[in-house]
Amino acid sequence: MESGSTDTAKRIFAEARQAGIDLDLIDTNLALPVRERWRQHDAALRLVLKLQQAKAAHDAGLQRADR
């Protein structure tokens, strides 16, 4: 039974790797308390939005220069 569940887990990990999922990132998150998972996520989202705003401002500047 234990061997079966280990085999299942190995198959799940292999499928995830095949799909491009970084299992190390998951392990890193699992080592964190929920509060820290939330903090890191929210900080990452703020960074994504800032980068998108910067890109949009950059593109708008290029459009003005083209006129």
Binding site: S5, T6, T8, A9, I12, F13, E15, A16, A19, G20, I21, D22, L23, D24, L25, I26, D27, T28, N29, L30, V34, R35, R37, W38, R39, H41, D42, A44, L45, R46, V48, L49
Partner: protein, 164 residues
Amino acid sequence: MTPDFSALIAKLTDAGFEFVIIDGYAAVTHGSAQVTRDLDLCAVLTEETIGVLRDALRDWNPRHRLTPQRLWFLTVPQPGAPVNNLYLQTDVGVIDVLTTVRGVGDYARLKAKAERLEVDGRVCYVMSLEDLIAAKEAMNRDKDAITAKELRVIAARRRTGGAT
């Protein structure tokens, strides 16, 4: 807008709004490495609970993000109007409140299997890993299939306790 979902969760919990965290932020809570742009919750939406939600969000400029005029949540919907879901934008992020989750069920069903969390002294509930995987599989979309694979890794990691 400066997203701060943990502040939203704290505010709603302190206000007494009862909810279960679902979808992407539930995945993050369980350990997913993905980034989600909205806080999705499942709750019962009645005139009373909407009132609690309004009071909680009052200071964060809540608006209906899917209406062209960005209608103000503090005045729309009118009291007594039936509400199935709310799609809101606030100063601290997008928050969607759904009354049911496809492939799983309504608030009572989710709450029955939800995991109880205590974060910074506040108790809240997150959709169980099993339910979350079922919901992702029910969506039948590529991005949800990837998340389901990630969640299955987390479930297997819990079962085996070993490294991936």
